[in-house]
């Protein structure tokens, strides 16, 4: 089986327009959460959002201007990761280079746009001569879930497998895991993996609001509204953006000699087969144990874990129990944090973003904190790196958890690369 190396990382998210500024914001505990824009707040006055630090369209060539926002985020993150990996032209082994994308709600912006256009024409007397059913001809290819994978594959001339995973909050963690397996088992030699999400639309926020899982605004400071593992938690905040990784086999990298950022250690995935939205210790433990086993690591060899940590009561308490079950006596020496307090929940992009932040934590020795954790929930009794980043840590391996609605669990493990 092939060793799989990570040679490029890219980010555009609420914390920043690239990986370095995003990681710096995470370390500084700079929250990007705030009230929703006026058009959404007029109907949902308490809804909070974590919008991307920049409009992706502003960073792209004009030819990408009509694409769905999630595809635009994917292009920006992929560009940083591919540049990072030194891949700027179509690779000579293009048929062995794949594209893997995780997205929760493909085409959210495009779909919302169609309905907005339809109803505004329908109800506007000055537009009565227009048929509201006439839509942009590229609406379908823009909203299809695999729009980002298709666009990235065309942009870089990548001719290997291109697959899109939609597994709610675990989408891009599974995309990373499956790309890892494809290279590990020799189906591909390289892949760019992207998690992307852009659903801060009126329609999707109304739907999320109805589920009663969204954070209530902190009266003193809305930026502090998402408080994972805290007694005063009230739920999560939707974010948007993308993160990307370039992975390649050690044999491919040996020829190209790129800077290696990490080695993929292991991947685990499982399904609870229990409840649509409630988490399960059994399923989470299974995912984490598979990842450790594949990496041939014992729990005490992992020093940092980026938790799923959504700041819902059930989620935080169950994940704490799962981590304790897997890590046993070494759980108290494990640093765990949820960066969602700062960048919000990026759903399909969350797994990739949090894995990228974990790898950057490993390489820098600086661990991003769990922000706003002033009143810890006694049932959540791990070392959550509260409030402030921790620097000068020696980290050999990191884990990142993503647990999805629908009962899908994914754990990713990366370790330092020893040439």
């Amino acid at each position: 089986m092939n060793k799989v190396l990570i040679t490029g990382l890219g980010v555009i998210c609420p914390l920043g327009a690239d990986k370095h500024s995003s990681f710096a914001s995470a370390l500084a505990a700079r929250s990007s959460i705030g009230p929703a824009p006026a058009d959404i707040a007029s109907r949902l006055p308490h809804v909070l959002v974590a919008p991307a630090a920049v409009d992706p369209e502003a960073l792209l060539d004009k030819k990408y201007s009509g694409l769905d926002r999630a595809t635009q985020f994917a292009l920006v993150a992929a560009h940083e990761a591919m540049t990072d990996a030194g891949i700027t032209t179509p690779p000579t082994d293009a048929t062995r280079f794949g594209v893997f994308v995780g997205i929760g709600f493909g085409g959210a912006q495009t779909v919302d746009g169609l309905y907005t256009r339809f109803f505004s024409l329908l109800h506007d007397p000055t537009q009565a001569h227009k048929n509201p059913a006439v839509m942009h001809p590229l609406s379908v290819p823009r909203m299809m879930a695999n729009a980002a994978a298709a666009t990235v594959s065309m942009r870089y001339g990548l001719q290997g497998q291109s697959s899109t995973y939609s597994i709610a909050c675990a989408s891009s963690a599974v995309a990373i895991g499956d790309a890892f397996r494809a290279i590990r088992h020799g189906y591909l030699d390289a892949a760019v993996v992207i998690g992307t999400e852009a659903m801060l639309t009126a329609g999707s926020l109304m739907a999320w609001n109805a589920l009663r899982v969204m954070a209530k605004p902190d009266p003193a400071d809305p930026a502090r509204s998402c408080r994972p593992f805290a007694l005063d938690r009230t739920g999560f905040v939707l974010g948007e953006g993308a993160a990307a990784l370039v992975m390649e086999s050690q044999a491919r990298a040996a020829i190209r000699r790129p800077a290696v950022l990490a080695e993929m250690g292991g991947y685990g995935c499982s399904s609870d087969a229990e409840h649509l939205t409630a988490p399960s210790v059994v399923g989470q433990v299974s995912a984490m144990r598979q990842a450790l086993a594949e990496a041939h690591l014992v729990p005490q060899q992992v020093q940092y874990l980026n938790a799923h940590g959504t700041a819902t009561e059930a989620g935080d308490v169950i994940e704490t129990q799962s981590i304790r079950t897997v890590f046993g006596r070494s759980a108290d020496r494990l640093a765990v944090s949820s960066t969602k307090a700062l960048h919000g929940h990026l759903i399909g992009a969350g797994g990739a973003l949090e894995f990228v932040l974990s790898i950057m934590a490993m390489n820098s020795g600086s661990l991003p904190p769990t922000a706003h954790l002033e009143k810890p929930d006694p049932r959540c009794d791990l070392d959550f790196v509260p409030l402030q980043a921790r620097h000068g840590c020696h980290v050999e391996a990191v884990m990142s958890n993503s647990f999805a609605f629908g009962g899908s669990n994914a754990s990713l493990l990366a370790r330092r690369h020893v040439p």
């Binding site: 024409l121 537009q127 001569h129 227009k130 048929n131 509201p132 006439v134 942009h136 001809p137 590229l138 290819p141």
Partner: protein
Amino acid sequence: MLEGLIKNYLISNAGVDPAKFDNPELQVSDLELDSLGLIEMLFEVEDQFGFQIVEPMRYLTLSFEEMVADIEAAVRDHDAGQSPTHDATKAND
């Protein structure tokens, strides 16, 4: 004028060389649009006038002038005999 609207779109969005329009014999096929490019171009008109143009692929074998005339006729039909009065300067509004 519809012709202005379509030309503006082709030059600024589809990357068509403006010099091509100096040729009175210009064929739609000379614009080098693929099937998606063609329907995207027609949407500029459809969006403005609020109806869908039928059988768009037939334009691929017409001259540019014939296509514009045909679209103008379709707009007239849709607007019950009114000539299109679109102001090309507002094409990108």
